[in-house]
């Protein structure tokens, strides 16, 4: 006798939070076995998330009632805290699970020193738990806390290598994160002062286009823009991501930044939805275009492999910004944005992992001197290229589907009579070209004629995981329909 999936869903959601926390706590308490705990924990959480998503989709709720809300400790909002699972968070949870599992496997090979392992794994598991909680949180203040969990552990991981560049990047990252968090918190406080509740659903129901909401929106948006490294507040990203250990860079660029963006999206689709004005859309869109150009230009300039990848994140997030004005015209476009973010996260993570393998083998990641290693490691270069193709938005990858949908939305705005839509379309289409240029910069040395130099030996994990993840990113195109369907199961969203 199997009960209906709906009945299991709340337990499964809370269980996911509990499980990921438990893994982190156990690893913290027993650092000697942290990597084993991490591995099994990663597998368990991954399996749990997959099971949860199966439950969620199988529950097949109506789009309007799809959010499953779990009252923690039995206390309903507004008194208590609610976990909140809908199509959007489900999608991002699955994304997190995939990237995090890959990163965990990769880290098995990457972090080999015994002492390093003891430090790395607990922090990493906390980060993952924080991300899971972030995506499940349905309470404004709790979002602040989970953001802090994520940022503190992320900063610690950035500084992990202990080099001057890493620590310097970490300090900047931390200060900016604190600034962003405080700004976000100020917004939360304003909202609380106005409405006296913290639960997002309640807030959404009560919010209107008033001055408090406007100021809160400004503060929270700006704070999250800082955290999501949206142009022109992106400058912390390249140093931090460029000098972090490879798996950390992968998670940062793939998930952490996406997490902040998720929050932005969630807020603007819910609480702040009444505020949006066309001018706002255009401003954000223009910032997006600028991000595309600036990030790409910097990626074309940067001399280090990981810097290029990091700046590519800045550029790719430009797409997400460009999508804002599209969403004002076509509210359905938000699903496209999320799909794009998902695909980007997968691709970016695999690029970073591949870059990490190359850096490890060569002992550095200066592009000019990397040719020999690139030539000797075709498998890694292939992963780099495959994920790069996804970034460019070329078929057969998920990036293509995402780009297609974005372009469709952009052209839709033109057809709807928006003149500035031309700019968005040009940016969306042209961005791929810039991406191609910097991906080519990374891959091309592998094709130069010259000696091969395998460099230091790398573990099989580091050899194969990037390729596997890149393949997932490429095949994500086939998951387009499923993802978009899942995303429709988000109440409140148009």
């Amino acid at each position: 006798m199997i009960e209906a999936p709906e009945t299991w869903l709340p337990t499964a959601i809370a269980g996911l939070v509990g499980l990921s926390l438990a893994v982190a706590v156990v690893a913290t308490a027993w650092p000697r076995q942290a990597h084993r705990i991490g591995l099994f924990g990663a597998l368990a959480v991954f399996a749990w998330v997959l099971g949860l998503s199966a439950l969620f989709v199988a529950a097949g709720p109506e789009a309007e009632a799809a959010a499953t809300r779990v009252a923690l400790g039995g206390w309903e909002a507004p008194l208590g805290l609610m976990l909140h699972l809908d199509g959007l968070s489900m999608t991002l949870l699955v994304l997190t699970a995939i990237v995090a599992l890959a990163t965990s496997l990769y880290s098995l090979g990457y972090i080999h020193d015994r002492i390093e392992r003891r430090q790395f794994w607990p922090l990493w598991l906390w980060l993952w738990a924080g991300l899971n909680m972030l995506f499940l949180s349905g309470d404004a203040f709790n979002l602040y806390i989970t953001l802090e969990v994520v940022s503190l552990s992320a900063v610690a991981l950035v500084a992990f290598t202990g080099t001057a560049a890493a620590v310097s990047g970490a300090v900047r990252y931390l200060l900016i994160n604190i600034l962003g968090s405080l700004s976000f918190l100020m917004g939360v406080v304003l909202l609380f002062g106005e409405h006296g509740v913290l639960d997002l659903v309640l807030l959404e129901a009560r919010s209107e286009a008033g001055p408090t909401e406007r100021m809160a929106a400004v503060l929270m948006t700006a704070g999250l823009m800082l955290k999501a490294a949206l142009f022109p507040l992106h400058v912390w990203l390249a140093p931090a991501h460029g000098s972090a250990p490879a798996p950390v860079s992968a998670v940062l660029s793939g998930l952490v930044v996406t997490g902040s963006f998720y929050l932005l999206l969630r807020l603007w689709m819910g609480v702040f939805a009444p505020l949006a004005t066309p001018a706002f859309g255009i401003l954000i869109g223009l910032l997006g275009v600028a991000a595309l150009i600036w990030g790409s230009a910097q990626a074309l300039r940067a001399g280090r492999l990981k810097s290029i990848v990091a700046y590519s994140t800045v550029a790719q997030f430009g797409y997400l910004l460009v999508a804002f004005p599209l969403m004002l015209v076509d509210p359905d476009a938000w699903r496209v944005v999320v799909f794009f973010a998902v695909v980007h996260a997968l691709a970016k993570a695999s690029v970073f992992l591949a870059a990490g393998t190359l850096q490890h083998a060569a002992g550095h990641d200066r592009l000019a001197e990397l040719g020999g290693v690139l030539r000797a490691r075709p498998r890694t270069v292939f992963a780099l290229g495959l994920a790069g193709v996804s970034l460019m938005g070329l078929p057969f990858t998920g990036g293509f589907i995402a780009k297609y949908l974005l372009l469709e939305a952009g052209l839709g705005t033109i057809l709807a009579g928006s003149v500035i839509g031309v700019l968005w379309v040009v940016a969306i289409a042209g961005g791929g070209l810039l991406a191609a240029a910097y991906v080519l910069r990374m891959v091309a040395p592998a094709f130069h004629r010259g000696p091969e130099r395998a460099g230091e030996a790398v573990s099989p994990w580091m050899d194969w995981v990037p390729l596997g993840l890149a393949t997932v990113a490429a095949l994500a195109g086939f998951a387009g329909t499923l993802t978009l369907h899942t995303l429709t199961l988000t109440p409140g969203a148009p």
Binding site: R379, P395, F447
Partner: protein
């Protein structure tokens, strides 16, 4: 047997081995050769089965939802079979040639991996059932060919690769935009003979015109239409099998095939004429024909000359399509095959010269006919075929194009054909004459291929046989063009099925 799975099997018969080859260690050359030839052979057989099926009138379709409302559609009609069989046959040959060509050189796993990806993409293009699927494979082709272009790894090769990517990716984006736009306007329809945009011609005439231009820019780069052709001659730095592939089968043909699809199966010839689109295309194609020929005449490097010749010859296909009448389309479509066979022969020959004797320039060709008679013979057949002399393949094309031009009452096109033939003769006859009748005083620098050792033939047999085969094929398709299964017969079938063919056929 379920039709869709056959199409998938055709696709995977090269994709599978390709991916397997990527992960083969460099020294497993026997296994690699087995995979290569096995894949190519299986593909050939499967295409044969499909051919028989389509001839019987069976329907083949496979579709996979990609996005809401948008499917990945593979379908086999007579037109796709034309291109698919061409690629399958020529691919087999090129694979043999490439194995011989690259024997003993490094990085073969990478090369053959991408090589197989290329054929998969090409076959995918052939079997695409709608524009989006077409685009997917089209872009895949761009990416899969780039590693081949830069395979040598010299600075020149990398620059060429950069240029190639620059051109093709930009055009790909234009195409992408245009296709999304079109899909927004008309929905993700499958290719329909006679087009599916008829309903829109009243309301969206201007949009359709702009879209057509965008689509032509998108396809025109690969098809090397006039202002967009510069990458092609420069991409000549690639190894000979790659050039052969770029020019004969994959890349330029993909562009041309796209134009054929758009004109015939998206817009439909009638709508295209009504909107005044074919006239412009005709002028561009005609200009490209002449321009390419003149540039070819100026080139001394053999491969460069062949490249410009491709620029010129591919526009024959487009010319035929732009004539938009049954005979013109027959001419254009049949040239798709004929040009492929002929040009691949020529590039193989150029590769043989370069690889066996280190000859790259036309001025060095003197007397090569005595050293490599079979290759030179093949070159001669290819060159004469390009000029359009009977009974070679090129003649059949030119004949139909000429008749098609008259049928479309574009008499000036005949003048273009005449002029182009003269120019073709002017640049193909000199190397032929030098090869057979020129005197060489100093001895040949040979053997360049020390590792290959002495052979019974004028060069490595894997280099020679493909050349001979394609040359004979080029002769045969022209000589026996009256048969039903010849390319001409097949193309007539296509046109008969899709268009009302006038009373007589020639």
């Amino acid at each position: 047997m379920d039709g869709g799975w056959l199409l998938l099997a055709i696709l995977f018969s090269s994709l599978g081995p390709g991916i397997a080859i990527f992960f083969l260690p460099e020294h497993r050359h026997r296994l690699r050769i087995t995979l290569n030839l096995g894949g190519a052979g299986i593909k050939l057989a499967l295409v044969g089965v499909l051919l028989a099926g389509v001839l019987r009138g069976d329907e083949y379709q496979f579709s996979l939802p990609l996005m809401p409302g948008i499917d990945l559609v593979l379908a086999a009609d007579a037109l796709s079979l034309l291109f698919a069989s061409l690629s399958a046959v020529l691919w087999f040959v090129t694979t043999v040639y490439a194995i011989g060509y690259l024997e003993g050189s490094p990085r073969r796993s990478r090369f053959f991996g991408f090589f197989s990806l290329c054929v998969s993409a090409t076959v995918g293009i052939a079997l695409s059932g709608n524009l989006i699927t077409f685009l997917i494979f089209y872009e895949m082709l761009t990416l899969a060919t780039w590693p081949l272009v830069v395979h040598r790894g010299t600075p020149a090769a990398l620059r060429a690769g950069r240029l190639y990517l620059g051109y093709t990716l930009t055009s790909g984006l234009v195409l992408f935009t245009a296709i999304v736009w079109l899909t927004l306007l008309a929905g993700a329809e499958g290719f329909t003979p006679g087009g599916y945009l008829g309903d829109l011609s009243e309301t969206h005439a201007l949009s359709l015109q702009v879209l057509f231009v965008l689509l032509m820019i998108g396809f025109g780069v690969k098809a090397a239409l006039f202002p967009l052709h510069s990458w092609l001659p420069i991409a000549m730095v690639a190894p000979a099998p790659v050039s052969a592939l770029l020019h004969a089968v994959a890349v330029v043909k993909a562009g041309a095939f796209g134009i054929i699809r758009v004109v015939n199966d998206v817009y439909g010839a009638e709508l295209a004429i009504e909107l005044g689109l074919t006239a412009g295309l005709l002028v561009v194609a005609a200009f490209t024909i002449i321009y390419g020929s003149i540039q070819a005449l100026r080139a001394d490097d053999l491969k460069q000359r062949l490249a410009f010749s491709t620029v010129s010859q591919v526009s024959y296909i487009i010319l035929g399509v732009a004539l938009a009448g049954p005979l013109g389309i027959i001419g254009g479509l049949v040239h798709l095959v004929h040009q492929g066979i002929t040009k691949i022969t020529l590039f193989f020959c150029a590769g043989n010269f370069a690889e066996t004797l280190g000859i790259h320039r036309i001025s060095e060709l003197n007397g090569i006919g005595r050293r490599m008679p079979l290759t030179m013979l093949a070159f001669t057949l290819g060159g004469l075929g390009m000029i359009g002399l009977p009974p070679l393949a090129g003649f059949v094309t030119k004949w139909h194009l000429g008749l098609g031009a008259l049928e479309a009452e574009a008499h000036w096109v005949l003048g273009v054909l005449v002029l182009s033939s003269l120019l073709n003769a002017a640049y193909f006859l000199p190397p032929i004459i030098r090869g057979w009748l020129g005197e060489r005083r100093e001895p040949w620098h040979e053997p360049l291929r020390d590792h290959a050792g002495p052979t019974r033939f004028e060069t490595h047999w894997m280099l020679l046989f493909p050349v001979v085969f394609t040359a004979v094929l080029g002769l045969a398709v022209g000589l026996f063009s009256g048969l039903g299964l010849s390319p001409l017969g097949w193309v007539s079938l296509i046109v008969q099925r899709d268009y009302s063919l006038p009373e007589f056929s020639l």
